[in-house]
């Protein structure tokens, strides 16, 4: 039985987008986390007596300059070599074969596929031989369907295609080296070890198996839950068994806390602290984003920026003293003012007009799109300077903002009345 590890999108040295100020302790944990995940993969390969390890792109977060990440990868390759484990690497859009990337000597067990590779590499294992082929990105925005350039797999060997690609429609990821499941099936390989999409997904269980392992370490607040790699065991009939194994050193969580029914600040604090305590059960450092939802008197507290900052600071102090650390990344407010919005919406007054206008706007895709364009136009310069394109202000975001704007306006008008 051939056994191997399939991992991708380690993003060594990742910047952890979406995180605001953290304590030095948490910053250190985060800075180390992707490297810890790589160590976990190496350890898993040893413990499971894997024949080889596949890294399907974006192993390093940056192609240029990220010397530490490349050296860490080489160190891992050497450690695998000491255990007689082969390593196959393709580079993706993040660590593409840029001219300025570190030029390192790789150990003999390590195969780095270039952007112009043409022949599969045969790897011998105790259970037999397997053929591995891959193509790295020669440039960041690889738009070609690289899958079409994969040669036919050799003979009867178990064949693996290692590819960093947007296979089919993917959400939240740029469409690099796009391909379809049909494209992959047509190439005749037995296992497609894909990378690029950070969410774990098995597109086909067999004949051929096509899988995204997801990233071994969550990189931002939206990449919640356990993260890791795939342990693939192939029987003599080339049927793979795919198992997920956790490797994340830090875990991201999004926790919704409903303020409905809460009367006092203490009620909210108790609820948040209780969640922090629950999250310690992960047994590893956690970063949590709280989303306050629901409707109630505490909306006035949660909508006050300074009060919310105080809560954040309190929770961070509370969680950073715990073991393991549970760091409050942020508190997002999605609460609604304590009013009967539906009744207000029907009233024949300015507030009623205000709410109905928001309703009308929400119901019109065209107007939402116009509003998104208008906002993007007004924020064109800062968007460019931040590095965001105009599409960042998309209709989905505008709808979310519209809801918050509606609550904000209604709340302020009612407050002014008081």
């Amino acid at each position: 039985m051939v056994r191997f590890i399939h991992a991708s999108d380690l993003h060594l040295g990742a910047a952890f987008e979406g995180i605001r100020a953290t304590s030095p302790e948490v910053a250190e944990v985060l800075a180390r986390s992707t490297y810890d995940a790589l160590d976990a993969i190496v350890k898993l390969a040893r413990d499971e007596s894997a024949a080889f390890v596949l890294l399907a792109g974006d192993t390093c977060n940056r192609a240029e300059g990220n010397l530490r990440a490349h050296l860490a990868l080489r160190k891992a390759a050497r450690e695998l070599q000491e255990s007689g484990i082969a390593l196959f690497i393709v580079f993706g859009n993040h660590d593409y074969l840029a001219p300025g990337r570190p030029d390192l000597d790789w150990p003999e067990n390590c195969t780095v596929f270039g952007s112009d590779a043409s022949e599969p590499v045969i790897v011998s294992t105790d259970a037999g031989e397997a053929a591995v082929f891959g193509l790295s990105y020669g440039r960041r925005d690889e738009k070609q369907n690289l899958a079409l350039r994969y040669p036919a797999p050799p003979g009867d060997l178990f064949s693996i295609g290692l590819l960093h690609t947007a296979c089919g429609p993917v959400s939240g990821h740029a469409s690099y080296a796009p391909c379809t499941v049909e494209d992959l099936v047509a190439r005749g390989y037995d296992y497609w070890a894909l990378g690029h999409v950070h969410a774990r997904a098995v597109l086909r269980p067999s004949s051929p198996a096509i899988a995204y392992p997801g990233n071994p370490q969550g990189l931002n607040p939206n990449e919640t839950g356990p993260r890791g790699c795939l342990l693939v065991s192939v029987d003599d009939r080339k049927n793979p068994t795919i198992e997920f194994r956790e490797t994340d050193a830090v875990r991201w969580c999004i926790e919704d806390v409903d303020i409905t029914g809460m009367q006092r600040d203490q009620d909210l604090q108790d609820a948040l602290e209780a969640r922090l305590t629950e999250l310690q059960g992960h047994g590893r450092p956690s970063l949590v984003r709280f989303r306050l939802v629901g409707r109630g008197p505490l909306h006035r507290l949660t909508s006050a920026t300074s009060d919310l900052s105080d809560f954040e600071e309190h929770l961070r102090a509370h969680g950073s003293g715990a073991h393991p650390i549970v760091w409050t990344e942020s508190i997002r407010v999605l609460t609604q003012p304590d009013m009967d919005m539906e009744a207000r919406r029907k009233s024949e007054d300015l507030l009623g007009d205000f709410l109905r206008i928001a309703d009308d706007l929400r119901s019109s895709d065209e107007r939402i799109a116009e509003l998104a364009a208008k906002l993007a136009g007004e924020a064109k310069k800062p968007l460019q300077e931040i590095g965001l394109d105009a599409a960042w202000i998309d209709p989905e975001r505008v709808r979310e903002w519209l809801a918050q704007a509606e609550w904000m306006g209604a709340d302020r008008l009612i407050r002014a009345e008081d």
């Binding site: 979406g18 977060n61 300015l350 507030l351 300077e385 965001l388 975001r397 904000m408």
Partner: protein, 949 residues
Amino acid sequence: MRLLSFQVDGFGVLHDTGIDPVPRSLTVILGDNGAGKTTLLRFLRALLFGFRAKHARVPIYEPLRGGSHGGSAVIEMSDGHRYRIIRSADGSPEGQSTVMSLSDDAPNRDLSAILGQATRDVFENVFAFSLEELQEVGTLDQENIRSRLDAAGAGTGASSLPDVRRKIDDEGKAILNSRSSKARLSVIVAELRELRERQTALSRDAERYAELGREQAQLATRLAEAARAEAEASAALNARQAERDAWPDWRALIEARQALDAVPDVPPMPEGAEERLNAAKQAAAQRLEAVQQAAEAVKRAQAEVDASCARLGDGWTEQRVVGFDAGQTPEQAAAEIGRNMAEAAQQEAKADAAVRHADEALREAASAREALEAEERQRWPSPPRTMDAIEHDLGTLREARAAATRLAEERAGRATLEARRQGAEDELKHLRVAPEPVAQPAHIPLIVTFGLLAASAALVSFSPLAAGVLFVLFLLSAAVAIRMHRKARSVVRAQRQEEIREAEGRLKDVDDKLAAADEAIARQLAHLKELAGRIGVERASSVDDLDPAESRLMEERDSARAYAEFGERLRGARRTEAKAADALEAARKALAEAQTDRAATDARWQAWLQEIGIPAEHRPDTALQFIEQVRAARTLIAARDQRAAEHADAVARADEARKAVEAAIAETGDSDEEAFLRHASAWRALQEARRRVDAAAARLAARAGSEERSRALEETLAATDETALVKAVDAARDAHRAARERADQLRTRDGEIKAEMRALEASEEIESVGRAIAGHVTDAERALEEWAIRRICVELLDEARTKFERERQPAVIRRAGEHLHHVTGGSYTRILRRLESNELEAEAADGTPKARPAWNRGLLEQIYLCLRLGYIEDYSASTEPLPVVMDDVFANFDPHHARRAADLIARFALGHQVLYLTCHPETVEFLRASQPEGAAFYRLTDGALQADR
């Protein structure tokens, strides 16, 4: 809702007044200034919305003329249900409101439900207003006018929408403002720019790392060559230096060889011959010295033996000392005999002390006994009576004392009888000489009473007959009274005689008892005297007469008791004396026995001394010392014999040593010791020359490292001189220094490259910069979101106001225009709001618009009055209407406009309940002239409302 009635309990000057019923249409109230019109307006506001808002600083109109603060009203809702609203004071600014349902089927409503969306602001500014509010509104600018109107329609505060919009817009601009470097996004973007520049710079680290790697590879080759050259130069330097260092050794070798050639050859000395001779000579000398020392020791030991024998005394020779035998344990024998002697002497001394002590005790006992006998003779010249005799007399005395006591009791009884006899005699004498007692006339008052009664009756009736009857009765009464008196006197006399007889009997009885008492006293007295005589009392008639005898007997008894005790002491002294005499005798006997024992032990000691040969004068302690001296002398004799033996042995060994010296000389073949020493000296010189040659050759060989090299070195050194060697070393050193410096330069560079590469490998800055950039991007995204939310909110608010102005406020303005047309008699046809400017304009009949700045005071007040009426109509169309209260709002109108305004109000009241307050009778007349249907007119005087018929 509309008012059906209202009642003021107490509110400012208003007290216990109201209107019932309040017309559905128009109620006109005329009152002079100060009569309470404005107070009534405030009352109606307070009734519905409280005395004042929570934080408002306005008067709450506490009652000035009595009554409870507040009042009530009965209202009717649009659905026909009726409620009573009560406003009362409870200490809070608003006061307490109570709503009571007056219809059986009326749903429960609180005040807020009744008032619907109306607020205090809406009511005060639109529904219940005075000329003051009207004028105040007139002084506001366009924006605030609109905001009040907006507020009225929106159900929010007067200035809420513009303020809310401005605040949210400001918040948005604080986040995103391209013209402000302090805007939140501007700050973030600026920092982000710097971080990215730093990131770009750090991105070149990889190139630098690769470049360093290449340089390091090239450097490795050059460094290897330089190291090899340095090693060669070092080896050359070491060789030249070795040659230079070997030169002194080379010279030493040459000189040693020359010295060896100069030394003559001699036969070899046997190995160690000279040492052996020296050792034999040294041993012979030492043994000779030992012989002398042994002879000295023998001499000293003999002197000690002689002195020791002399100390023992005459006759004590070495032979006697050696032959002295005191037995195995002379110390034990001497100690035992000595102990017996000491015990015997101790027993003798003890017995002697006991004799002296017993003799002393006997003398003391005799002296004590003699002292007691002398005291007895002194204290009791004759012996006292015995205790039994004295005790007998004391018993007689106690009997006499009892007899005396009884005698005294008899005498006291007789004295009592004597007193009783005297009393009986006195009583008898009194009874015999006392006058006869008089009977008490108890009936006389009765007679007098009847008489007075009769007299009174006669005087009253003036009837002679009655008087006669009464007189007869009076006489009868008197007769009866006299008879009763006589009978009572005879009874008293009989009683006196009886008392005298009883007293005489009692006197006789006492006399008999006195006679018996005298007899008893005589007997007791005789007995007393007989007893007293027995104890020596000659005259005794009472207890006191016995006291001297008792004292005497008590003293005598004490003396007899002391005599007895003293006698006991004397007898004790005599017994002590006898015992002491016995003890003395026993002690003397023991002393004699002890003296006998001591003599026996002394004899035994002398026998033992004679037995072992020690002079007889020795006591046990000195005898043992003597024995020790004999033993010491015997030890000295043994030591002297030992020294003599050692001396003989030393002499023998000295002779052996002398023979060994002779043998050592003979071994070398020399004839004597002098020849031996010359031979040895020549041999040592030859050996030293050979050793120096060998040592120099060995040092040179050691420098060369091997024998072969040594030969080569010798050849080299033989072919050169020292100056040439020094020059060769200097040249080699220079060459080596140059090679080393070259290699060091390359090594330094190699170290620098490695250090830089390690630093690059370990550098985390690019990652930390990346995280900082990501954090900033996140902050920027959050800021953008917050900005966008506010921007959208502002959009919604703007659209809401625009909608309000287009679809809601124009209806208000249209109606207001119609009213203005009526009030101005067609001079102004309508009111317009220009959307582009949001300003109100009044359009004249000729179509000319007149904007706010061009309005005179009358037109401004007319427009705002009409706007309010328009608002009220619009408001009431969709919401529960409220009663309208106006306080002289067209007081500033000229009569022409005032008449039209009154007509407008009268027509308006047909659809809306209006209470109009005024101090102008002509206004009342204008309103009355409009003939409003169902209108009522009241007059308000000093806080009281009265119907004005």
